[in-house]
C-alpha cells in the first residue's frame, strides 16, 4: 500500500514538473518607472547654484562630480558618430556619418552646422576642427534635461538655443526621458516620423493601440528601459549605420521565447522575430515618408523664392530645398530575413547594383541566426556621379549664401562641388539622379496582442504577408503543383470510375 502511495506521489511530482513548463508572459524589471528613482537631487548641489552663460563651463561642473563619465561618453557612437565593425567582404571597417550616405537628407558632409544639432556635443562645426578628445565639448543636457526647457539652437552646431536657462536645466537633470531621446530620434531625417515610421512624437503620450509598452494607460515605459545602458553604452542598433550582431535591444530582455499558450506558435520564435506579428502596421498615428525624390529640388516660384506644396494632411509633398515626397499612413511592412549583420554603401564604393542598396540587411532561411523581421523599405532618387559611378555627397546647408549650400543657393553643381570637396571624394563634374533603397527595421510601436497578426496573414496561398520570402516551404502557402494536380485528377478519376461502375450495375440489375 505504501509503495503504491509513493508511486502515485512520484508520478504526481513528475506530472507537476511537466506542467510547470507553462509560459511566462512578462517579467517586470523594476517596481516603479526608473526616472522616478532619483538617487540625488541636483537642485541641492552647491556647484549648480548659479547661472551658466557658457555651456562648456556647465559640462565642467557636471564632470567635477561625475569625474569619469566624460571618458565613457567619448567612447560611445552617440559621441564619435562612427564605430569600427567587421563586415564580411570588407573586413574591419570604420563606419559612421562621415563615410555613409542615406536616401533621406543623404549625409552630413559640408552641412555639419545644422546636422550636428543632433550631436551630443557643442561646436561640431566641421569634421576637421571639432575636438573629439575634449570632454568639455560634451552636451550632458540634451539627454539628461528633465526640466523640459532645454533645446539646441538651429544651425548652431549643437550649442543650446540662447533662450535656455542653463542653470535651471542643470538643477533639474536625471535619467533620459522619452522627450530627450525623441528630440533627435523622432525627428530623424528632418521631421517627425519621417524616417522610420515607428519613431513618432505620438509616443510621448499614446494609447495602448499605438504602443502597448509606452502607453500612459499602461506600463508607461521609457526608452531606456529597453535600451538599457551601462557606462553610457546603450543597447540597440540602428542598421542605417550599424553592421554587427552585438548589443542589440530585444524583446527577450523581459519576455521569454515561449510567451504564447500555443506551443506551435512558440516554435515560430525560432524563425520569426516578435516584431513580425506584433507590429502589424506602421505610421499608425502620423505619416511617414514613403519616397524622396531629390531630382525635382531647386525649383523656385515666380518671385524667385523657394516654395512648398502640402497634401491634405499637411505633409510636404514638395519642397524647393529637398524635392518631392510621398507619404503613407497605417502601412503594411515589408518582410526580410535578418541575422543581425548588415553591409552599407560607403561613400568610396563604386556602384554595381541597381537600385543602389544604401544598406543591405543580411540573412536567409537557411541561416541559423536569421529571423523574419518587418521593415520599411524607403525608395529614394538622389544625385550620383554617372562617370565615376558613386553616390554624391552634396552640401545642403550653410549659414550664409554664396557658400554653395543647396538649401541656400539652389544650385546643384555648386552644392555637389562643395559637398564632394568636404568629404574629399573625386567628382567627374557630372551628376544625374539614381534610384536607391534603404531598409529600416521596424521595432517600435508594438501593438496590443489582440492586434497581432493571425495565422492566415501568412499561411495563405494568395497575397500573404510573406509572399515575398520564397526560400522556404510554408504550410498553407506553398504546395507542389504536380502533386496538387495529380492528386485532384486522381480524385476526379476515382469519382468518375465509381459513378460509371455503379451506373452500370444499376443498369444491368434492371435489365436482368
Amino acid at each position: 500500500m505504501k509503495a503504491l502511495l509513493l508511486f502515485i506521489f512520484l508520478t504526481g511530482c513528475l506530472l507537476g514538473l511537466v506542467a510547470q513548463d507553462s509560459p511566462t508572459f512578462y517579467t517586470p524589471r523594476k517596481d516603479s518607472p526608473i526616472w522616478q528613482q532619483k538617487s540625488a537631487d541636483h537642485s541641492k548641489f552647491e556647484v549648480l547654484q548659479k547661472d551658466f552663460d557658457n555651456p562648456h563651463a556647465l559640462t565642467a561642473a557636471c564632470l567635477s562630480c561625475h569625474t569619469e563619465r566624460g571618458k565613457e561618453v567619448m567612447q560611445t557612437a552617440h559621441w564619435k558618430w562612427e564605430r569600427e565593425a567587421y563586415i564580411e567582404g570588407r573586413g574591419i571597417t570604420s563606419l559612421g556619418k562621415n563615410n555613409l550616405l542615406n536616401n533621406f537628407c543623404t549625409g552630413i558632409g559640408g552641412s555639419w552646422g545644422t546636422c550636428t544639432r543632433c550631436h551630443i556635443g557643442y561646436g561640431y562645426e566641421d569634421q576637421k576642427t571639432f575636438d573629439f578628445k575634449n570632454e568639455f565639448n560634451i552636451d550632458c543636457l540634451v539627454c539628461h534635461d528633465n526640466s523640459g526647457t532645454y533645446r539646441k539652437g538651429s544651425g548652431m552646431a549643437g550649442y543650446p538655443d540662447p533662450s535656455v536657462d542653463l542653470g535651471h536645466v542643470a538643477r533639474n537633470v536625471g535619467l533620459p526621458s522619452r522627450e530627450n531621446c525623441g528630440t533627435c530620434h523622432f525627428h530623424s531625417a528632418g521631421g517627425n516620423n519621417v524616417k522610420n515610421g515607428t519613431l513618432d512624437m505620438a509616443l510621448l503620450d499614446c494609447s495602448p493601440e499605438t504602443d502597448v509598452h509606452m502607453t500612459s494607460e499602461g506600463a508607461d515605459m521609457n526608452c531606456v528601459e529597453c535600451h538599457e545602458t551601462e557606462k553610457h553604452q546603450m543597447k540597440g542598433k540602428y542598421y542605417g549605420v550599424s553592421s554587427m550582431n552585438r548589443n542589440r535591444a530585444s524583446c527577450t530582455q523581459c519576455h521569454s521565447l515561449r510567451p504564447h499558450i500555443n506551443d506551435v506558435v512558440n516554435e515560430h520564435t525560432i524563425k520569426v522575430a516578435c516584431q513580425t506579428c506584433h507590429i502589424p502596421t506602421y505610421a499608425k498615428v502620423n505619416s511617414t515618408k514613403t519616397s524622396w525624390d531629390w531630382s525635382t529640388a531647386t525649383k523656385l516660384n515666380e518671385e524667385g523664392e523657394p516654395f512648398s506644396l502640402d497634401d491634405t494632411l499637411g505633409n510636404h509633398t514638395y519642397l524647393s530645398i529637398k524635392g518631392s515626397f510621398t507619404w503613407g499612413n497605417d502601412l503594411v511592412p515589408d518582410y526580410i530575413w535578418f541575422n543581425g549583420t548588415a553591409d552599407h554603401y560607403l561613400i568610396t564604393d563604386i556602384i554595381d547594383t541597381f537600385p543602389v542598396q544604401i544598406n543591405t540587411l543580411k540573412g536567409k532561411y537557411a541561416d541559423e541566426e536569421a529571423k523574419i523581421h518587418p521593415v520599411k523599405i524607403h525608395p529614394g532618387t538622389q544625385p550620383w556621379d554617372p562617370e565615376l559611378k558613386r553616390l554624391i555627397q552634396m552640401k545642403v546647408w550653410d549659414k550664409e549664401p554664396g557658400k554653395g549650400a543647396l538649401w541656400v543657393d539652389f544650385d546643384y553643381y555648386k552644392a555637389i562641388e562643395e559637398g564632394m570637396k568636404s568629404v574629399e571624394i573625386p567628382w567627374s563634374g557630372k551628376h544625374d539622379f539614381i534610384h536607391t533603397e534603404m531598409t529600416l527595421l521596424l521595432s517600435h510601436m508594438v501593438a496590443p496582442k489582440e492586434q497581432a497578426l493571425t495565422c492566415k496573414d501568412c499561411h495563405t496561398r494568395e497575397d500573404g504577408r510573406l509572399a515575398g520570402l520564397n526560400d522556404f516551404y510554408m504550410p498553407g502557402r506553398n504546395y507542389n503543383a504536380s502533386i496538387e494536380k495529380g492528386g485532384i485528377l486522381l480524385i476526379i478519376l476515382s469519382l468518375i470510375g465509381v459513378i460509371i461502375h455503379g451506373g452500370l450495375r444499376i443498369f444491368f440489375a434492371k435489365k436482368h
Partner: protein, 224 residues
Amino acid sequence: MKPKKTKEVYIYHKFERFWHWSQAALIFFLALTGFEIHSSYNLFGFETAVTWHNYAAWAFIGLIGLAIFWHFVTDQWRNYIPTTKNLKAQIEYYLTGIFRNAPHPTKKTTLSKLNPLQRLVYLGLKILIIPVMVVSGLLYMFYRYPQGSGVESLGISGLKDVAIIHSAGAFLLLVFVIVHLYLISTGTTVTSNLKAMITGYEEVEDDKAEEEKEDTNKKMDQPQ
C-alpha cells in the same frame, strides 16, 4: 433479379469494428483539418485546424498501436498475407461478373475475411501509406527548423519534402476512401457489407445456392 440465398456469418470481432470506425472517423477528421492547413478551404480556422490535426494524429497513432497489438495476439495479421489465388477471378468479378449478378469469387469467413484484392490494397495501406503518413506527420510536428536539435541528424533543412510527401499521401488516402466507400455497396446485398461492419455479422451467399447459380451463369455465358 433473383434473390440470392444467403446465410449469416460472424466476420468482424468487436475490437475490429471499434478499430475500423474510430480509424474511419480519425482519417475523415485528419483529412478535413489537414486540407484546411493545406489552404484548400477555410473551415475551423487555421490555428484550430493545426491544433486538432495534431491531437487527432496522436489519437490515430495510439489506435495504430492498439491495432498492431491486436493483430498479432489474435493472429489476424494473416488476413493481409498477399495471395494470387483468386486474384484474377476477383478482378474479373469487378469488371464483368458484378454486372451479371455473378457470385463473389472469394468466400468470407471469420478466419479469412479479405478477398485477394483487399489483401493487396490493405497491406499497401498498412505497410506503405499509413507509415509514410505517420512518419512524415511526426517529422512535420517535431521538425524544428535548421537549428533545431530534434531532427537535425536527418539533415532536413526545410519542411518542403516532408510536407509534399504528407500531402501526396493525403491525396492517395482520399482516393482510397472514395473507392472504399463505393465498394461497401458491392456485398451480397447493397447494405450487407455495411451491416457486417456494424453488427459483425454478414450475409454471405449460401454455398449450396452458389452451385445452382453457377449452372445458371454457364448458361448465361453462352451466346444467345
